[in-house]
Subunit: 412 residues, 2 copies
């Protein structure tokens, strides 16, 4: 049995989890890998005295880069800098890299995959989407005989927790957010989650993998959940839907794609509707296989760490490059403006007179489906038929009787 | 670009699907694999005149075995003989084999994996569990950093279709079975499905992979759905459950396992409860990752074929043995008698006098939970507390007031 040296860059939540999983499962992993995995260095600027493995900490990245015995490097620092420079340098030095850093992969995935390919090493990032849930590898390997045409899912556990509290316990958005913060699910500054940026990075990675060309975060129209009200939750419920924050990407007939993050009404009989709390789920549609769904904990120290360690195990088993993960660079016009494609919308608005408002809506959108609440609220909610988004929105804007109009997508 | 020759043994539903997917996705697959995949032979005793590829059919297995240019063989004949002899001969001749044949893998998986390992070729069978759903490879690769301790799921689409009709449409078992046969979901002799044998083979494969030692079908206590009545469906519904045919296996503290196939009451908030019609789902539990669920079409020509072809693609990319799929041979005492472990049971029975019967039940099982129907049916249904199965069943048998007693497991 040989020993393979590994370095872990970053000893935060995920990083400490990676070290913990590697050390606590040492024997079982060695049995599977037929090699011992030795955590030689842990790179972190902070000191961690008093740990069993305190002597392995270093502060100088060059020690890792120049140590030829280190074959696999784990990047769990997060953020783009210096993660990007470090990962690039490691790959160029012929070391495989495993990361959970969705921001890095969404911004530089195509470039880093290309370098890995040229150097015949691995760049793996299973943990960057869906935490511990196997998603990227099964899509790349098990669905490889399919032409994939749609990928979407609940990609952010924090917002799903908040929406679940709103749906199941009638809790207002602000209260649900405060609870999520109290439980450690949401940051003090919750923007990355509630404004959809985290889900945006993940749909970039999924779309890049499924459709073969890199999608960059700035190409994804991204909308968070901050404007969702309990009224929306109630109307959706009456109409047979639940509201979920969805990352969505679809291959169009001309080979281009759409990519969006938005809160959407999901039919209750859709598998995603039952995905609650901090759980995530990714749905992939292929021409041969139909619908496939992957479900589990999308975040958390140990689930995410276990996905990173699985990548490390894969690297140690196959020190030369695995060939399954790769995509080309993208281009500016590859992602089309979602407003130009067909969709269905949900509309809620305040009105002075419900009857007049309904008459106006029907005169402009003749087959609107009103959601009946049985109460007189000076508020209406309805679903549009399927149409080109820009045209639907133009019609909605033209409705003079609607005030403070709120519009959501419907996933059918 | 090189050409890799492949042979397909069997041109039934799955076999013709495999050829169809390989031919219709030829270009996309070649782009992924960087090799062309050429279907050189199709082995079938029947004639298939008039097809685009009729000239590729052969009736003599030796042509495949002796052709050194054939690197990958697809076995989709089904059944044990001659599939076992053919697969073994191919592996021994240094050819990789991909199969969808669960019966073969459940009966001879450990032996065939061992031969593949010795010959440095692949023996892959992703399609044998869950049809097109990625299950085995993600478990083996993506969850490799976990100690797995439980695996269970809805593993048979036909019985799930029948139960869904009973649950959603109040259709009697016989009528639902007749409909399934009419739609082509069930065979004329439906025993392999409705008696649980198909699910049994799949839980054998899952348990072997998750826990590392081969489990043979005769070690799995197997019970089908033929005795489930609409009354059971209704009682389960009132108590907050749906009835599903479950394949279940669990690692015990002493390193042994249990393995069962049975109809069970599944809580409505469990992800499996929403898995309807012919869909399958597999839940895996690991110490780091928690719950992970894989969902999709568990059968059907193209879904299953797409999983077989993904294995072929994997073989062509890695002509030398992949190292992730393997387990040891099992042993007689590895699977313990499920009656000796703890469970919870559902009981339904006819009674002459409901009050007397309840009094008797409470005197023997003091914390039984009766399911109240609001109707006087001369029938009772209740849930037991958690206890050792044999002890619970002994108590139930001792109840003199219960007649035609029916007992099901409860999945909590």
């Amino acid at each position: 049995m040989q020993t393979v040296n590994v370095a872990v860059m970053g000893h935060g939540v995920v990083g400490s989890g990676v070290v913990e999983v590697l050390l606590s499962h040492e024997k079982n992993i060695a049995a599977k890998v037929k090699n011992e995995i030795n955590v030689k260095y842990i790179l972190d600027l902070r000191d961690f005295p008093g740990l069993d493995y305190s002597e392995r900490f270093i502060k100088d990245f060059d020690l890792i880069l120049k140590d030829e015995s280190v074959k696999v490097v784990v990047e769990v620092m997060g953020g783009i800098h210096p993660a990007y420079e470090y990962v690039k340098a490691c790959l160029e030095a012929g070391k495989s890299v495993c990361t959970s850093n969705k921001e890095l992969v969404a911004a530089h995935g195509a470039e880093l995959l290309k370098i890995a390919g040229e150097k015949n090493v691995n760049f793996l990032f299973e943990a960057s989407v869906g935490g511990g849930i196997p998603v990227l590898r099964p899509i790349a390997q098990c669905l490889s005989a399919n032409d994939l045409y749609e990928v979407f899912g609940i990609l952010n556990g924090t917002t799903n927790f908040i929406l679940t509290k709103m749906i199941r316990e009638n809790m207002a958005f602000e209260d649900a957010l405060a609870l999520a913060q109290q439980l450690g699910y949401a940051e003090r500054n919750p923007s990355a989650d509630v404004d959809g940026h985290d889900a945006c990075r993940k749909i970039c990675i999924l779309a890049s993998l499924c459709f073969g060309k890199h999608v960059y975060p700035e190409q994804v129209r991204t909308e968070g959940i901050t404007k969702i009200t309990l009224a929306d939750v109630e109307y959706a419920d009456i109409a047979g839907y639940v509201i979920k924050l969805i990352g969505y990407s679809k291959l169009l007939e001309d080979g281009k794609i759409t990519a969006d993050v938005y809160p959407a009404l999901v039919p209750k009989n859709n598998q995603l509707a039952g995905v609650d709390d901090v759980f995530n789920a990714v749905m992939v549609r292929g021409d041969a296989v139909g619908d496939v769904l992957f479900y589990g904990r999308g975040a958390g120290k140990l689930p995410t760490a276990s996905a990173v360690v699985a990548d490390v195990i894969d690297c140690v088993k196959h020190l030369n490059a695995r060939k399954y993960l790769s995509w080309e660079d993208g281009s500016k016009d590859y992602v089309v403006d979602s407003k130009t494609v067909k969709t269905r919308l949900y509309v809620r608005a305040y009105v002075d007179d419900i009857l007049n408002a309904k008459t106006e809506v029907f005169s402009v959108i003749s087959d609107a489906e009103f959601i009946v609440t049985g109460e007189d609220k000076n508020e209406v909610a309805f679903l549009t038929p399927v149409g080109v988004e820009a045209e639907l929105k133009e019609k909605i804007t033209s409705l003079k009787q609607l005030k403070n109009t709120s519009v959501l997508h419907v996933l059918d």
